[in-house]
């Protein structure tokens, strides 16, 4: 995947198909390798922003989104993923019969494809085998295990249906695990800190730090400052009623924790 350093939003407006407006006019930019925090009260449009970046078809969107010089605003969700965008969901949905490892493998093969045919299968139903342009299957499995252990994820979880019957903490960790293995250019974490105890919070924060050091731009959407005790944000942006009201650095987050959003 080609590394592009800036993700920028220009005059983004978003509404539900029912007509309800959620984001009124948002312009901001993110840099790969940095940590960007987006804060705001409930209902301010933070999660909508995450969904809009990822191209959720539930929203009607106006404005432009660029990765470097490439306009991605008309791309589909999977095409955006291929441009290096990743979303860690706030409450990810379970998919029966699709294991964590199966999902990661399929996603990896889509993101790091190759047209190089390794071997032709005799049986037309199996057709051809392709090599990935990234890690081999064995290397991929090793990477998954390495990061799983780093995140204190029980290995048995990897072969279970994704998010089916997982605890809140397990869900969040599995989202971080995917980001670490898939190495996006920009990863959006939508309330990754909610429902985590202190230990899990530290582990997740460490995961995000590792990801940042790999060069990923991490966009952290949160209510609270608590995750920020373990991370060092480059920028903090406050959103209220669908628009940017304040921009600053880590100090801004601390101030908000003290005085609230000024409701």
């Amino acid at each position: 995947m080609k590394k592009v350093s800036i993700l920028s939003l220009q005059h983004i407006q978003a509404s539900l198909h029912s007509g309800k407006s959620i984001l009124s006019d948002i312009s901001m930019s993110f840099t790969a390798g940095n940590i960007h925090v987006i804060m705001g009260p409930n209902g301010s449009g933070k999660s909508t922003l995450a969904n809009v970046l990822m191209g959720n078809p539930e929203y009607s969107v106006k404005g432009k989104i660029y990765v470097g010089k490439t306009d991605i605003s008309t791309l589909t969700t999977s095409e955006r993923a291929k441009k290096g965008i990743f979303l860690a969901f706030q409450s990810p949905i379970a998919i029966s019969g699709v294991s964590v490892i199966h999902l990661i493998r399929s996603a990896y093969q889509e993101l790091y494809p190759s047209t190089k045919v390794v071997s032709k299968m005799h049986n037309p139903a199996l057709s051809k085998r392709y090599a990935s342009s990234g890690m081999s299957i064995t290397e991929l499995l090793d990477a998954v295990k390495k990061y799983a252990s780093m995140l204190h994820i029980d290995e048995a979880l990897l072969s279970r249906s994704i998010h089916e019957g997982f605890s809140g903490g397990e869900r969040k960790k599995i989202e971080v695990l995917q980001a670490l293995v898939l190495r996006p250019t920009f990863a959006i974490f939508d309330e990754i800190d909610t429902g985590l105890d202190v230990d899990a919070l530290k582990i997740v924060a460490h995961g995000i730090e590792v990801l940042q050091k790999q060069g990923t731009g991490c966009i952290i959407i949160t209510h609270y400052q608590r995750l920020l005790m373990y991370l060092h944000p480059d920028t903090v942006t406050v959103i209220k009623k669908g628009t940017v009201v304040q921009t600053g650095n880590a100090e801004l987050a601390k101030k908000i924790e003290g005085s609230g959003y000024g409701e």
Partner: protein, 467 residues
């Protein structure tokens, strides 16, 4: 899982090739006493089998078509060929097969499968088994695994004792038809306390247009034995309709266990009307694992007659109905003894205007105290053109028993699609993953190769229906 889903175009039916017809013997069109006498003579059968066939023909002619279920009026019985013999004698080795037949099997991929972990391959081309290889160990253990025609000649007493006793010709019109004109199929006998470690397999294939295929399978698992039999079907495409009507009888003796797995992928002009039944004695276990993807209309309801105390029956079935297809499947559990248990898990997927139906019967007789049954049928409907119906029937004659029925109908959720596509997976591949995940509980009961084949076939179908 498919990683290369670059094409949204309906994938062609990959097994839809066919070879020039090259046969030693082909009966005329239609069915008559003379066709049956001819067939029986060609096969060199003894009188009892000829009599059985003729008696069955008389029943067939009197029986009405089923008054329920899918419409079968388009089957042109008088246009079918009822018996075709492809080669003079059975080939013992792969290399002895005629080139055209061998190429056909090559395309399906049989030799590789054989090389791997199969203990015995018995491949049916047209009406007779032409190629088979049986491992020595089977002989040493006293296991008989042969085609049905050979069994009638070689083991007449054993065959006579069981043949047509569980599914008599009068059971239904298609059982009568099969009894009259049956050809090929497998015969398995597993002696007492013998466990056959690797699955026994047969591939069936129809090559000639307008040809009816009526194989007949009989499995006897003696006390305390175990066997897993696998039947897989692929057929080429033809403009005229073909009929496949098999009869499968299984005897599970005391403490024995039989698993019967099928992956059916007939081309979409084949009527697949099959009668499958097992009789399960005390503490015996019968498991039907049934995958239905192909055919125009399939009607198939594997049954277990639980006649011995604590006998257990299972049907795990998965069906996919695409454009123009009807999959009318299900299962029957007949509890005739105390403490018998059974389970039916049916998963169906309909897309492109296809139609799936679950049709099931659970009968618990008055003496079956402590019987337990559980039915789960889940349907996934891919679009607004498609349809799924459930026709469960329960007849419980004793109060001290438990029956459970759960049914669900679902669609692929937008939320699941968004999640998977956010990982870079294309919408078509994502839908395919969700569908394969949905049927996974059944697929994992299949041997690995069949699971892979079923997933692949499902992917090919999905490419045509989602985009």
């Amino acid at each position: 899982m498919a990683s290369n889903t670059q094409s949204f175009v309906k994938a062609p039916y990959v097994f839809g090739f066919h070879k020039p017809e090259d046969y030693i013997y082909k009966s005329g069109r239609g069915l008559s006493e003379s066709v049956i006498r001819d067939m029986s003579a060609q096969k060199g059968e003894s009188k009892w089998m000829l009599d059985f066939r003729l008696k069955s023909l008389a029943i067939y002619e009197k029986k009405m078509m089923p008054s329920w279920g899918p419409n079968l009026v388009d089957i042109q019985f008088e246009n079918l060929f009822y018996f075709i013999r492809p080669v003079k004698s059975q080939a013992d080795a792969w290399k002895d097969l005629p080139d055209a037949i061998r190429e056909t099997y090559d395309k399906i991929g049989i030799p590789e499968m054989e090389k791997k972990f199969l203990s015995g391959v018995s491949a049916q081309y047209e009406s007779e088994v032409v190629y088979k290889s049986i491992e020595k160990t089977l002989h040493e253990k006293g296991v008989i695994f042969t085609d049905m025609d050979t069994a009638v000649k070689k083991y007449p007493e054993l065959v006579k004792k069981y043949f047509g006793t569980l599914i008599p010709p009068a059971d239904n019109k298609f059982a009568a038809l099969n009894s009259a004109v049956w050809s090929g199929g497998s015969f398995i006998y597993v002696p007492k306390n013998v466990s056959v470690g690797l699955p026994l397999q047969a591939y069936f294939r129809i090559n000639a247009a307008n040809m009816g295929q009526f194989e007949r399978t009989l499995i006897i698992a003696d006390e305390g034995s175990y066997v897993h039999y696998i039947e897989g079907c692929t057929a080429p495409i033809y403009s005229t309709d073909s009929l496949h009507s098999a009869v499968v009888e299984i005897f599970v003796e005391k403490g024995a266990r039989v698993r019967y797995s099928t992956v059916q992928n007939w081309s979409t002009n084949v009527y697949n009307l099959v009668t499958k039944r097992a009789r399960v004695e005390e503490e015996g276990i019968m498991e039907w694992v049934d995958g239905n993807i192909g055919s125009k209309i399939t009607m198939k309801y594997p049954s277990c007659y639980l006649v011995g105390k604590k006998a257990h029956g299972e049907v795990l079935s998965v069906a996919y109905a695409g454009k123009g297809q009807i999959q009318d499947t299900g299962g029957k559990m007949i509890h005739l003894a105390p403490e018998t248990t059974s389970r039916i898990i049916s998963k169906s997927v309909s897309g492109g205007g296809g139609r799936t139906s679950y049709r099931g019967l659970v009968y618990i007789a008055s003496n079956a105290k402590g019987a337990r049954n559980n039915v789960v049928c889940d349907a996934l409907i891919l679009d607004h053109l498609s349809r799924s119906d459930t026709y469960p029937k329960m007849d419980v004659r004793v109060t001290q028993s438990i029956t459970e029925h759960e049914a669900s109908v679902s669609r692929i959720s937008d939320e699941q699609l968004f999640y998977l596509t956010s990982r870079g997976i294309t919408p078509a591949a994502a839908a395919s993953m969700i569908v394969n995940g949905f049927i996974e509980p059944i697929v994992k009961a299949l041997p690995l190769e069949y699971a892979v084949e079923l997933n692949r076939l499902m992917d090919l179908e999905m490419l045509g229906s989602v985009g």
